[in-house]
Subunit: 450 residues, 2 copies
Amino acid sequence: MSERKLKLALSVYGVGGPGHHSLWKDPRIPKNASIDIDWYIARAKQAEAALFDALFIVDSQFINATYPAHYLNRLEPLTLLSAVATHTKHLGLIGTASSTYNSPFNLARRFGSLDQISHGRAGWNVVTSFDTGTSRNYGLEEHLDYATRYGRALEAVQVIRGLWDSYEDDAFVADVENDLFLDPTKLHALNHRGENFRVDGPLNLSRSPQGQPVIFQAGISEEGKTLAGEVAEGIYAPGEDFESAVEYYADVKGRLAAHGRHWDDLVILVGATPVIASTDAEAHDRAREIYESDNDFDRKLAAFGRGFGAYDFSQHDLDAPFPDVAALADKGGRTRSQAIIERAREEKLTLRQVVEESAQYKPSPFIGSAQTVADTIEKWFLGRAADGLNLRARTPDDIDSFTEEVLPILQKRGLFRTEYEAETLRGNLGLKVPENRYAVDTDASALVEA
Amino acid sequence: MSERKLKLALSVYGVGGPGHHSLWKDPRIPKNASIDIDWYIARAKQAEAALFDALFIVDSQFINATYPAHYLNRLEPLTLLSAVATHTKHLGLIGTASSTYNSPFNLARRFGSLDQISHGRAGWNVVTSFDTGTSRNYGLEEHLDYATRYGRALEAVQVIRGLWDSYEDDAFVADVENDLFLDPTKLHALNHRGENFRVDGPLNLSRSPQGQPVIFQAGISEEGKTLAGEVAEGIYAPGEDFESAVEYYADVKGRLAAHGRHWDDLVILVGATPVIASTDAEAHDRAREIYESDNDFDRKLAAFGRGFGAYDFSQHDLDAPFPDVAALADKGGRTRSQAIIERAREEKLTLRQVVEESAQYKPSPFIGSAQTVADTIEKWFLGRAADGLNLRARTPDDIDSFTEEVLPILQKRGLFRTEYEAETLRGNLGLKVPENRYAVDTDASALVEA
């Protein structure tokens, strides 16, 4: 087994939490950055020059005027990444798409195409879309509940993986002399009949050098973690503090064995918003300053509502007891929203108190001098809190200070690569190329026959 | 009004009809061309250097082993065109997508993103997908009938255009001093409630320099022509012969007035597979040779079945009377399949006879010396059989001979541009930028108030 190395994704414009509303005001970011493909290509090149594993494009589909700037006007992830693909060579391209509001056949085609265009660098971040606003953009009055969405997500991934295997790798013989382009015995229809989908296939697209796009996911709920254990190959985890990250890591990796999978079959990346300065104190001051640049209560209220499926809390009295929104717990990040509701009830908090408390400044673990941040990353990596980071850098300068100051320390310690191992996303993440389900293992058959 | 000029699209790998099965054997085409993004980018650059209006990407979603090589393994059009976008500057990018098997919100996002990535060069070729094979990839046992599909297509276009107008053009004020990124009065939810769709919006994407992607369509049936009259801005028409093309042109353009539209609001491109040689005779010899390179009966039978919704005619006796497949007429290109069924019945033809007759060699109107082809194009253009061509060139060499030999003649006659008029697809096609439906005409209001 090769030595374990830190994995790194760059989440462009995926900054959440305190201060993300004020990001558009930063003079280093063009005002139209969120729809400027040249800006994304430049960030991708920056990440590739620094040997990152992947660019990670998050997504959202519902907005109103209370949303942060980069949510309001946003490129669709697959079109964005296809444009980036031809300007990069090693960088993985992970795009977010909802299994709830797309047909499996369509998703299989789009991610399969990105995988071909990038010669094996595509990844799909499977989300189930939790807010009522999004469901109303797709004809539903209410979003689907957790169990339905995750059942559908699991089946969608299974169908899509089946479609990706439509052609065996040696299907196209292109034998001019014998007038044979395709060996027809190596094209397979899926004929899937499931609870949520019926899809015949085959897919009209062959496999890329990495076999299939890499399946990412961000499961925090019980259903999400179950899905992760069964099918995820990468996870974008919250990473709020070391202890909970270690617990999460063990929990999710512990679910792999039940599906005949190994710890190395899944890479866990924690979200990290680094703030780096000459000294720890200076970095912490800057982090707090960023937080305080975005201290508008109405925005905090709207952001709080997004955690409940974009619910509009402004209709309630701010100084009355926290409203009875138990029915909403299932709309958003359920685990977190249930905890908020229970605590508010027990401690008899007002809506305003709950919102202010939810939005209060919580310093990220990745704040400090380059040395401190490198130490923290080493601790998280070796302590099995993470296999790597999804870096939510705020500005191009933040990417630079991370790559120029922190990465060299990690490289010197042998924790991060000094050159790419491969030209595919799987190759760099250390994930196996999945064997085509229809391929006969001729070596093995030969052994059996011998 | 500006002088009327010929419009040109290049349909890469969209070659149909006789000889398309043998295309993969041409040594000038890489065996994996249909999934090779570099090959598409090179063709796009070739078209842009020759001042074409657009690259036109056709599509299909169902295959079996009888399909031609470039159908078997095919990039999804939107991912393909996004990758091409950043390697071109003036060329329009028209992608095919089905209104039957995609949600309007999803289509609005994907084409809107392509339009932003290309800075106003996107076009959507609306198809309704007619074959049962495709419907079975999307969970339906049978495809939807004509009326349902076209009703859905019309409503989808209306919804998508509504979503594209979500932001007025001056919505993003990005006023740092006053902490105002978006003028919230210029963001509009659609709240569409229709027969086929309910979509709230708004779309999380602003308009490009051309306002909205251009709507293309390929309506031949009565329903298709009705849809074209109401919403199409470009048509990909068959163009089998001059007389029927003139009739089609007048028919479709005649439908515009009922919707308050003008002849110039719709550009009709006819499909043209040129074969150019030193003399007319040589060109005709080469065209016949191409046809004869693909003379396999089983392939003809499969191709014939595709016109009936990918129906498998091999289950019938080839030498018995043409089978009773009237129920299939609605599955494919209805007008044409009905005519075939009727003629077979009247003339008591066998299945084999009908297939051979359907596949017989019909020389394209665009075969001959460069002079002859230029004359033909002039006749079609000035005679109002077409506003331009969708060039289905077989090989890069065929593009070259068209652009190097035919186009200069047309330019000398003042029929084709000598430089791009604009950097948007609308600008080059001479189509108006659609006004945002929510925009108040402040000049007009001022006049009224004055």
